[in-house]
């Protein structure tokens, strides 16, 4: 036992000192921050897109601007209500008029706040025909003019700082002196503006003469955003012309919204939160990590074995330890290396989701950090890492022991890869249907069990499935090591051409004594 520990210790230290190990340690934090930090930074550094509009109709631009202002007002009031409810320190920094009006609006439905905001922007203090409840109409009459005054004199930059999601942060309309086609085209090609719109002469009749000119073909957000507001303005104008009550029109167009619910463990209906969706898909990310770590770590064992053989150090070792002590020490040493690796990943995941967003001034990602301490996810990940490693290590160490150079061993990898690619390909379908037929069948095939059962953690599978697949996996691991150990003790002393598969199978089948086999005395 002492010798096994010594071998394991050396393996551990030797691996921990390699650059590859530290790349592995850094791999996950880099990946994680790429997911959390990069979009945040991108969002912050992306400047507002500047655009110009040439209005041939004479009225639509103004109407669209009003629709945009209404949307921004709605956004600002919505944010204020949110702060009033949960972020009092930020709320008290808002202007007095907003602080006064917000508590009164907090009682309304979000869509009603939108109607209120549009009425303020349109300077409609009576709110007739808007369908707002009487208290809201009173609020509109009392505070509407002050709100409008405040909003219309607020410079876009300040509004953008105060409320992160108002349109001024994303799109900014600029006035251009020369509205000739040639001048505008030049501005676009010089990059002075992102795009420009031309509104046709009679948008009420049709789209004739309306166009959107930009050199960026992939980012269509601006076209969609401005286009929707302009279309809304056109629709409102058409309703007025046809004397259709806007409230009736809204009612006609109102879709049915389906409340999405799930059943709890006790069979009760429950609201679905964002956390639930994430929990459904999180296993997929874990499968990916599991796959990478099992593969990388068992490959480490193979490379080490080949290196010991090609270094000719193996026989010196065998004069001090038996081949089985050597094998056990190597498995243990690499397993602890691997656990250090995935342990560091999990720690980073746990701490990172808790503290990194805070450090960057964003709210902590509660849903992510809840995932990081979810016992089923983390428990399955660690358990299936160990089981998966043990199974694949047995195969790879056998391959390593019969090869003399690392490239010999690499040549045999595609065969193993062919098997390992299957759980990766099945990852998405299983994520969608964690308890479906494919998932069930694959979880009973031992080489796939760790990945597929991890994948199904969202289900989660029933207890008997856990027990049955784990037992089957453990039996396979024992068989793999029984065979692997036989191959290992012959293979490591073998030089020259790597043996054929048929020969290796003969070693495995051969009874004790017919091959270089030790009998315990």
């Amino acid at each position: 036992m002492r010798k096994i520990v010594l071998v394991a210790q050396r393996e551990y230290l030797a691996n921990v000192r390699t650059k590859g190990f530290w790349f592995g340690i850094l791999f996950f934090p880099v990946l994680l921050s790429a997911f959390i930090v990069v979009p945040m930074l991108l969002e912050r550094t992306k400047g507002a897109r500047q655009y110009a509009v040439v209005d041939r109709s004479g009225w639509l631009l103004e109407a669209a601007d009003r629709a945009i202002a209404g949307g921004d007002m709605w956004e600002a009031l919505g944010t204020s209500i949110e702060r009033y409810r949960s972020e009092p320190e930020e709320f008290v920094q808002l202007p007095m008029v907003v602080q006064d009006v917000t508590p009164l609006l907090a009682e309304l439905e979000p869509s009603q706040v939108g109607v209120f905001a549009r009425a303020v922007v349109a300077e409609d203090w009576s709110g007739e025909g808007t369908g707002l409840p009487p208290e809201a109409l009173r609020t509109l009459a009392d505070y509407g003019p002050a709100l409008h005054e405040w909003w219309s004199t607020l410079p876009p930059g300040i509004a953008g700082d105060m409320f992160s999601d108002v349109s001024a942060n994303y799109y900014l309309r600029v006035d251009v002196a020369d509205t000739s086609q040639a001048a505008l085209n030049r501005l676009v090609s010089e990059g002075a503006i992102f795009a420009y719109f031309v509104i046709g002469e009679d948008p009420l009749t049709g789209s004739a003469g309306s166009k959107y000119v930009s050199n960026n073909l992939t980012d269509n957000d601006l076209r969609r955003w401005f286009g929707r507001r302009a279309s809304q303005a056109v629709q409102a104008r058409r309703m007025t012309l046809e004397e259709i009550d806007p409230q009736v029109a809204r009612w006609i167009q109102e879709p049915i919204t389906w409340e999405q619910l799930k059943l709890s463990d006790t069979g009760e209906e429950q609201q679905i939160e964002e956390r639930d969706t994430m929990r459904q898909w999180a296993p997929v990310a874990f499968v990916y990590l599991l796959w990478i770590s099992v593969w990388a770590v068992s490959q480490m064992l193979m490379t080490n074995t080949v290196e010991e053989k090609s270094n000719r150090v193996i026989e010196v070792l065998l004069s001090s330890v038996s081949s089985m002590e050597l094998l056990a020490g190597k498995i243990l040493g690499i397993a602890t290396t691997g656990l250090t690796l995935v342990g560091s990943w999990l720690l980073v995941f746990f701490l990172g989701t808790k503290y990194i967003p805070q450090m960057l001034g964003a709210p902590p990602s509660l849903d992510l950090s809840a995932l990081a301490s979810d016992p089923i996810l983390i428990g399955s990940f660690l358990a299936y890492f160990i089981l998966g490693y043990l199974l694949y290590a047995a195969v790879l160490v056998s391959i390593g022991s019969v090869c003399n150079t690392v490239s010999d061993a690499q040549n045999m990898m595609p065969a193993v890869m062919l098997v390992l690619i299957i759980p990766l390909m099945a990852m998405m379908p299983i994520g969608q249907d964690p308890n479906g037929g494919l998932a069930k069948i694959l979880s009973f095939i031992p080489p796939f069990t760790p990945f597929v059962m991890m994948n199904r953690a969202a289900g989660p599978p029933q207890l008997w499935e856990y027990v049955a697949t784990t037992l089957l996996l453990i039996v396979s691991i024992l068989v793999a090591w029984w065979a692997g150990a036989k191959v290992f003790r012959i293979g490591i002393l073998l030089t020259g051409k790597p043996p054929k598969v048929r020969e290796i199978l003969r070693w495995v089948r051969a009874p004790v004594g017919a091959v270089p086999e030790r009998k315990e005395s």
């Binding site: 002492r2 010798k3 010594l6 071998v7 050396r10 030797a14 000192r17 390699t18 010991e308 270094n311 000719r312 150090v313 026989e315 010196v316 070792l317 065998l318 004069s319 001090s320 330890v321 038996s322 081949s323 002393l493 030089t495 004594g513 017919a514 091959v515 270089p516 086999e517 030790r518 009998k519 005395s521």
Partner: protein, 301 residues
Amino acid sequence: MEHALTLDGITKRFGDVVAVNDVSLRVPQGCIYGFLGPNGAGKTTTIRIIMSIFYPDAGQISVLGSPNPEAVKDRLGYLPEEKGLYKKMKTGELVAYFGKLKGLPGGVATERAESLLVEFGLGDWIDKKTEALSKGMGQKVQILSTLIHEPELVILDEPFAGLDPVNVQVVRDMILEMKRQGRTVIFSTHVMEQAEQICDYIFLINKGHKVLDGTLAEARASGDKAVVIDYEGDGSILRRLPGVRHVSDAGKTAEIFLAEGTNPQDILAQLVGKLQIRRFDMREPSLHEVFIRAVGGDNDA
């Protein structure tokens, strides 16, 4: 305990090949024992059996008085024919690691590794990775690794292979020093001159069978006496001399085996004037001759 090692009828098969066939051997304590034989004769397999890397299919073995070589593994030192080092390990750590594997406590192993390396002029390399060592230095480090736990029986498989004359001398001195300290040394080689210089006993194996074993003198006596000459000139004449049974000619030195009843003086008389003779000596055959005769003698005679 009289013998460091006894083998009794040891046989080892690999599939249909019999690598070692019914070999018996006694190695007294405190001697230097040479294992000789051509490539593939069974030397390494015999050594691996002694080191309990292989178990014999038949026969009895006793190493340092124990019938189970595995139990005394920590008292043996072994330098295999295929030797190597962990390239990324520091030299000091590596030697200490092999000491610890042989049961030395960590502190003692580190201390002894460092003092050994300093003693053999490798003090500057203690904290360097082994990949920085030259071949000769690497070989020294390997030998030190087999000695760090002060083994009672040391087995060196081809310890001189690939060394320059200076390092050959260093390794030879190390072997002689081990003997002085009372350790038993078994080493294998196929360079007869080296065996002749330092062995007390030799064991000659061919195709898995023991050909002979005993003291160096006994081995030599097993062959006929020969005339040894150092000469300049065309040596082909030697084979045509009357009364000569067999000639082993190395170009400037030749061993001449005489037929029954031939007088060595007649040979000398015949050579005078034809070759320039610098030495003319009557003595026992060299180990080289014994080896050639035992292994491939039939083709040569």
